[in-house]
Amino acid sequence: MSTPLLSAQNVSIYYGDKQAVRDVNLTVQRGTVNALIGPSGCGKTTFLRAINRMHDLTPGARVTGRIVLDGEDVYGPGVDPVTMRRRVGMVFQKPNPFPTMSVFDNVVSGLKLAGVRDRARLMDVAERSLRGAALWDEVKDRLKTPATGLSGGQQQRLCIARALAVEPELLLMDEPTSALDPASTARIEDLMTGLKQVTTILIVTHNMHQAARVSDTTSFFLNGDLVEHGATDQVFTSPRDERTEAYVTGRFG
């Protein structure tokens, strides 16, 4: 196998004195979709946010161990979290477009942060990103209208497009469909398979079917521990740990 895109080595995460993630080791290969599953409060979000250093913004939060993205320790000395975050896209649980910006400005907001001013280039990237998020046909005639005029599902795809626009090596998605209706959810699930061509996805989900449908590997968290990590087929059909089996068969969680 080639070198993994992401590797977490002995990662522990604390909120003050409270340990929320314990000694996690995990690797993610390029061009795959990886699901993080587990009961509420087990540390999935906490782990996900450690990867793009969002915990830097939470007073009292602390990350130990190494998280290596494409050969570079993201917590290494001299790493600027601001430039580091440009390499990682993030999609949140609730659609959160910038409400005072147009559809177009939302999509290119990351590029503008990176200093891109060239209109033609921005337009190009906006179209490509919106196509990538399967939203282009629905919004191509209203790029200049406020982003909040879109439906919830469209807003979430807009947020995906916004994340894609900076061509992230890794896309983090924290329950991206939990606030959406089944039709919008299906659209976003369909999207993910295509997105593997351009990026690598780490997705937190509570929906077992979603994990089984879209992901190549699955990691099962429980009380801050990574209990099991492996190919999705294997985790769902022949889990090695009985706690995993109990969870994926719906006996708890």
Partner: protein, 335 residues
């Protein structure tokens, strides 16, 4: 013996329905009182200003001469004075207020943020007259010293002489506008300074509250795209909060337009055309404060009240405009 059982809900429901109705009536009565007071004050203002408005017509608000001796009354000069002092104070105070709100909401550690926020709010609780005294005894001498220093230079004295000729003929130039015309520090500039401080807490505390209310996911979305703290503030937080901040600005403007006592104490009460930033001027409110007591003559008195009427409509217009603008700027339809 068996007592017949009474259905209990019947005795309870009408009671609560009755108290609901009583409460509703009370609220309605209170609301009507407010409307009544409003209508009565407009009526009274209108009645009292009628002699002046009949005499001068609407040109009362566009004429520049205000001369109680000759019985000539025009409010244009005070209207300009009101707008100039208020807008200048707004321009100076809004950046300060937003900066202090950002400091309190985004930068300061908690142990510092709360006391600083409290101090800023306290500024709003200081009585006008205290601001007026502070301006006269603290700020005016400082400005006065600067003005005296200005005249220590012979070249400036020559400039002053030239400007004075202009001023006497009722004119000014941009250069002369910034030449001091007095030595005691009082005047338009002092009024602007004091208004700036007085309205600062209104914008600052409203801005602080709306900045704190910007949802975390808006900030995080911007951070996750690779933004610095300042970029998060300027591209996510301030745009999201702009309508609310503008609400605070309008509140401050309303306050500045109507501020009376402190301005009346420091502005130099001159009804002549504004020729220098450092010279005397007057606002609608300051003229009311300074002249109402002495206005024995009927037309004079009525003209002073007409100033009040104009100020009233100016405030209403500002508030109306503010509502329109705020409604347009408020982010809508967030999922």
């Amino acid at each position: 013996m068996n007592e017949p059982v009474r259905p209990r809900p019947l005795t309870r429901a009408p009671l609560s329905a009755r108290s609901d109705r009583t409460f509703q009536g009370l609220i309605l009565a209170l609301a009507s009182v407010i409307v009544l007071v409003f209508v009565l004050s407009v009526y009274q203002l209108g009645r009292e200003s009628w002699p002046a408005l009949r005499e001068f017509g609407l040109s009362f608000y566009t004429e520049r001469t205000w001369n109680p001796v000759s019985g000539q009354f025009g409010a244009a000069q005070m209207l300009i004075g009101t707008l100039v002092t208020s807008l200048a104070a707004l321009v100076l105070s809004v950046p300060l207020a937003v900066a202090s709100a950002l400091f309190v909401a985004e930068y300061a550690p908690k142990w510092l943020a709360n006391p600083v926020g409290y101090l800023i709010e306290l500024l709003a609780a200081v009585p006008s007259v205290v601001y007026g005294l502070w301006a006269l005894f603290v700020i005016a001498p400082i400005l006065g010293r600067w003005q005296q220093g200005f005249f220590a230079d012979p070249a400036n004295v020559a400039l002053y002489t030239r400007c004075q000729d202009l001023w006497n003929s009722g004119q000014t130039t941009l250069q002369c506008f910034f030449v001091p015309s007095a030595f005691d520090g009082r005047g338009l500039a002092l009024a602007i300074i004091i208004l700036t401080v007085m309205i600062l807490p209104y914008t600052a505390s409203v801005a602080r509250d709306v900045i704190r209310l910007v949802p975390a996911d808006q900030r995080e979305a911007m951070y996750a795209l690779g933004a610095t703290k300042w970029e998060v503030i300027s591209r996510a937080i301030l745009p999201y909060a702009r309508a609310g901040i503008l609400g605070g600005v309008i509140l401050a403007l309303g306050r500045a337009l109507g501020e009376t006592l402190a301005v009346a104490m420091v502005i130099g009460d001159s009804q002549e055309i504004i020729k220098s930033l450092w010279g005397g001027a007057s606002t609608m409110a300051s003229v009311i404060a300074n002249q109402f007591g002495d206005a024995q003559e009927r037309l004079h008195r009525s003209s002073v009240v007409a100033l009040g009427l104009g100020l009233f409509f100016l405030s209403v217009a500002v508030n109306f405009l503010a509502r329109v603008v705020i409604a347009r700027l408020t982010p809508k339809g967030i999922q």
